[in-house]
Symmetry: D3
Subunit: 139 residues, 6 copies
């Protein structure tokens, strides 16, 4: 089994705000992240698939294909966007690094699985070089 | 003469939009950057001062002081903010990397000069690791 | 389950020396690291906690809290210090990258566990970008 | 158990070409990588061993020894070489990042195991900072 | 005056060999770089243009345009190529980092100048993160 | 004219202390850096030479030679050392990043000049990725 990883970056805005809380509680819990005008990051998305290298090509998956999948399924929706305002899954869920990792998994897992060559093994999302979240699916 | 540099990072949102143009022209010229909901970056601000090391301390400037100046004059205004909406100098000027470098110079130069120890030599602003603008003042 | 990681850096000195060995053996085994005046590194401490994102905040843990814990429990003791001379756990144990990772785990694990929100999953310590040690606890 | 990792870099050329396919199919499947004059990368090899720190030295393994093993077993064969033309295991196997990771494992595992101190736990090979493959051995 | 920089990467092979020297002298002078099968690098090309930000757009140059110029004039010729064998200017000139920087300048300068907006100020080529050459044109 | 740069790293300890001041003033001015047990860094030394590429080799200088010079003149004296205690020029001068840059220039300049091929153009010393000092000689 080989674990093959490809990275890509996207630039997006977000804020942390819970609609059911008063402003004061949002500001106390979320601090500077509660600014409703938003702030932003250069995120790094790291996608790992697991499988056996094809004996003919030496590929677990074709990395050009994986780059295309990441572009169509995640970057087209997230890059140069405001995650809270432009992305459906964050209309009612706060776009923390943790939730972005889960959301990217949900976008990518069916497409990787449908290709029938390898399985999605791990998603990492870096909000900054100092902060990242990793999700490996349920179970 | 020694050139001493300190880096800091800030996370901010922006968009590119010229109010005097129709939406169609903004979208054609600025592409994905014209999304009015904004998008964001982890910016790196790199500040260089020039001077002679003090023979007693070995310092051109005290780097704790410089970190404080950068925090008070630039990061307090830009970090976790929407540059177009929250920062006065970008109300009528587009927050491109070029303009952010000039604006940071204008915020920092009087304070560095007033301290009378070294002169501000160079400002660099990285929008991503692949794109940066440098300003060295007029003349 | 989400694995959420935060990095921090600290600058410290150390040397490698076994008191029960003659100088010649220390120098043969530890080479340049046996210089008793010490040498130093910019270490990176990488702390990973595992848990479920809170459905209300989207947080596994509050990263401001985790930063505070890392600062109080590890950086306050290690940063700008000589590990052999200033840190109790290295009075009789050599501060190799391996032992620093275990020591940081012992400092952090009780505090993370006591908070009752997530469990400490992994500690990584980078001595340089080329050398790092990882500890996941016993069991 | 501690996982101790050391990185090293090597510069090498390669191309992707399956001798049993016509040129047209090689170019369609492998794209720009099918250029028979070759192209190249600065690869990073990341070797992780697992074991208990020696209570006397604090070492899982001596990192100078591990650096020597990596140099003799892998870098001497791969660095400043054309992987397809100069390296025996890629005469009939395509030097993808996946296959390089497996080949480096096969070169390193017997030597690490024979030393009897720690076991080889993981090999990572980065072709670029954006693409890497990881192998943990069979089973 | 603002100095605006964009980075891009390319992967290429090369070797160092002077046709007028015997093999023994090539090997003595160029060491491991004299391997005629070639070896390779992930190069980074860093292009800096100098000019005044347009008061309407805030751009010194449109970075999408600059990316396109770098792609058409340099990367199309160098990326996934063998510099000695595939690139005309290195048929009779050794593709050292120094010569690549000069060659990239010659490819880019006429196109940047013809656009009439900014002047080419500086080219940097990184062969590895540890080695780079910089060229600022003649005079 | 080409500017050719090579980087190297060294690990060293230091502290900031002015013998003519009372302890209280040292602690107030130098803060955590005044710890007399020392602390340390992974420094990066960046050496730039300027000259014309040799038309036969394509080299401004032979980078293997430059690596040797940096090793013999600077790293042999600074790496795995305590700068205040082990290095003559810091017996009576505080090893700030500024002073290390000047001291490295003084060690390297005569050797580069004596070789008669290129001139020493610039020294940069990074104390951390966030702090660096640059020296270009007198005048």
């Amino acid at each position: 089994m080989i674990f093959l990883t490809r990275r890509a970056t996207f630039s997006a805005s977000h804020y942390y705000w819970n609609e059911s809380w008063p402003a004061e509680k949002n500001e106390r819990v979320f601090g500077r992240c509660a600014n409703r005008n938003g702030h932003g990051h250069n995120y790094t998305l790291e996608v790992t698939v697991a499988g056996e290298p094809d004996p003919v090509t030496g590929f677990v998956v074709d990395l050009k294909w994986l780059k295309g999948v990441m572009g169509r399924e995640v970057l087209a929706a997230y890059d140069h966007k405001h995650l809270n305002l432009d992305v459906p899954e964050f209309k009612h869920s706060i776009p923390t690094t943790e939730n972005i990792a889960i959301a990217a998994w949900k976008r990518l897992e069916p497409v990787v699985t449908a290709a029938g060559v390898a399985r999605l093994s791990r998603i990492r999302v870096y909000e900054t070089p100092e902060i990242f979240a990793e999700y490996r699916g349920e179970a």
